[in-house]
Subunit: 436 residues, 2 copies
């Protein structure tokens, strides 16, 4: 019986899940791969064995070289996270002839192209299913199952923390700050939540999906990134009344004119599938020219779901190993020599419907002034709502546009902000149609 | 550049989609596999070139041996459907050293184990992603992406025709017969619809999923199969009022006591994801011990979606071919020598909640008689509804039970049927909790 000898870097939450899985399912994995997946050694800063697992013969060490450079390791699992030292260690492991499995979305989004070419150069695998959407196997699906399709849209709910916050804001009618505080207390959000709530984590995942789907690795700075800090409970309630939910979507679109890559709060119709993804769940929608739109849904984070995907990559390597085969599938699906570059569409050129919210004085003529601005910018209106009456305070004026460019929307709002009757900086949120 | 030479058996709807895809995406497929996927020849009973496609150098023949036994074919795609001659042709193709890709669920559900061992014996691939859920890549997901999990539940909406009919019945408040007639006129249902509406098609798919998920090939007669003919619009409306939808679910469950395999109309809570799968869409839910429940959703049939999955299998073979690798992944995930058998749980031993519908005389004491029967069978009741008043006609009495066995339910209903006040054979439908 062949054996795959595994070394682990990092023994945090996900690391614990991977160890638990490898120790629990040894027989099952052998039945499915023909190979024994043996965890040999874990490198961790604080090598304590007491993690509620029977580690048996598994060694613990504080010396990373005992994993990345040891002769008795075939595969290195990198679960340290962040760019350094993860990047250097992955590189070293590849140079030492190890396969690498990682859940590190920042690393792959930032250095994926370099690392993959390094892996190809040394004839080793670099796999990263767990980097996107936890247990949801969207990397393999995009790379293999949908490989016969020209994919033109990938979008989804890629960050469970943001989706949890937005769900709670809507259900309980409370502010972003209040929910964030509660989520931090419960451990659903980090003490420094900016990576999640500012959209960076979702953008890392979007970059990886776009690379595989479109056959071209985007520069990370080509992604337009907005988080959810400025989404107000007022917007959520208004959206709700008009039949929408507000979701933080990652969206990658490709057409003849180029590519749009963005992470931003978005209005989606309550009747579509994407609106029914609530709480900490992730969902990814992929549209192919033959497949149509398919959807993949599940837990996007956590000890056990993420471990499921890390070990799926080990299973791939083990199955390759069984038949002495490597690099069967290119990491970004397209073979390296065919990876392209494409023009990225400017924010201003995006087309779509928009939700606009103004705070206006409640007096005759205001609507005429505002709609005159829209007319000048050639924006037509699908719906308009004004609510509440007040002689002194501003009242909300909500409008939903027909399809227009973001350039027109920005120009109109800049012009409106100059109006006497407009009392706050106007806000806008993009609307996406129901994908399925 | 290597080449994969393809022969096609059957040139119906899906066959046309596969041909269209192979001719349209030749360059894309080469970029992703490093191999040219060349369609050489199509065997069809009526070899007419005029199908709205530019067939170029592709040959048409009425002689199946020119595909299954020709020297210039590496892979045979079987899209004839049904058991014979499909079975004999697939066997012959394998014996002639061809790989086989098929969308034939009846064939794999019935003869899968034999065909797979034949493929292994000759060192060729037998792949069948398109046999289950059209464009939704649930076979590969179960076989590869979730391979690190012990799967204990697989369930889903596996037949788009039934789901379309049930959706229409609810939305329009009309009978099964009326919707079926309309669906046949529109081409959504076959002239002989029994394969779909009696649950056989869904059961074929369930057998295949269970084989991969549980590592054991079920005998087809071990699956309890009910279709949707007896679902009345009355049940659908009552379910709706109580917060449920009625769906035809395929369900495979495994625990220490055995396996349950069933296709049957089921009440599901309207708040769960499975209830939001409407119309012709398919959805499969898979619960693994580490992954938790993940869901896969998309178009379950049709020319282009099915072609997407057929060609995904070709891509797998092409990528294997590129690195001279075969049988990397066992067809049913578990290696043949580890495939097990398991006890199948009797229908009577199933545990769950049930929806009961009686037609009773509208007079005092009826409720006491009915509930006395339930008490004798130790069935406790979660909700009870009676609606309408009539001195002459029977009125509906609806009950929802707490968890009980199907044995108890059947015994209670048999006893109730003997009551004077009960005017029709009582009906019951199983309730499944919201999976996610």
């Amino acid at each position: 019986m062949k054996e795959l000898r595994i070394g682990l870097l990092g023994f945090g939450v996900v690391g614990r899940g991977v160890v638990d899985l490898l120790l629990t399912q040894t027989a099952l994995l052998r039945e499915r791969t023909g190979v024994t997946l043996r965890l040999v050694r874990i490198a961790t800063r604080t090598p304590q064995r007491d993690r509620g697992l029977d580690l048996g013969a598994v060694e613990l060490t504080a010396d990373v070289d005992r994993v990345v450079a040891a002769d008795d390791i075939d595969v290195v699992i990198e679960l340290i996270g962040g760019l350094e030292p993860a990047r250097s260690l992955v590189l070293k492991a590849l140079q030492q002839g190890k396969h690498v499995v990682t859940a590190n979305k920042a690393l792959i989004a930032t250095h994926g192209e370099m690392l993959v070419s390094q892996a190809a150069a040394v004839g080793r695998e670099l796999l990263f299913e767990a980097a996107v959407a936890g247990a949801v196997p969207v990397i393999k699906v995009l790379r293999e199952s949908l490989a016969a399709n020209r994919v033109d849209q990938i979008y989804g709910i890629l960050n469970g923390t943001c989706n949890y916050i937005l769900t709670e804001m809507r259900e309980k009618g409370v502010s972003f700050a209040a929910v964030l505080k509660e989520a931090q207390a419960k451990g659903f959000a980090e003490a420094d939540p900016s990576f999640d709530v500012d959209g960076i984590d979702a953008a890392h995942k979007l970059a990886i999906l776009a690379a595989i789907g479109f056959g071209s690795f985007p520069r990370f700075d080509q992604i337009h990134i907005e988080g959810i800090r400025h989404v107000s409970d007022v917007d959520i309630q208004w959206a709700n009344e008009m039949g929408y939910r507000i979701k933080l979507l990652g969206i990658a679109k490709q057409d003849a004119g180029g590519v749009e890559l963005r992470v931003q709060p978005t209005l989606v119709p309550v009747t579509g599938m994407v609106a029914s993804v609530e709480g900490v769940f992730n969902a990814v929608f992929i549209r192919g020219d033959f497949s149509g739109t398919t959807m993949y849904y599940g837990r996007g984070a956590g000890e056990r779901p993420t471990a499921s995907s890390v070990v799926a990559d080990l299973v791939d390597i083990a199955r390759n190993n069984r038949v002495d085969n490597l690099q069967r599938v290119a990491s970004f699906s397209t073979l390296p020599e065919y990876l392209a570059t494409y023009p990225v569409r400017e924010t201003d050129d995006w087309q779509g419907e928009y939700y606009l919210r103004l705070a206006v004085a409640d007096r005759p003529g205001v609507l005429a002034e505002v709609t005159a601005v829209l007319a000048r910018q050639q924006i037509s209106i699908d719906a308009i709502h004004q609510k509440g009456r007040s002689a002194v305070e501003a009242v909300p004026l909500i409008m939903v546009t027909h399809a227009t460019t973001e350039r027109q929307v920005r120009a109109a709002l800049a012009e409106m902000e100059q109006l006497d009757a407009v009392r706050e900086t106007p806000r806008f949120i993009r609307i996406e149609p129901s994908f399925i």
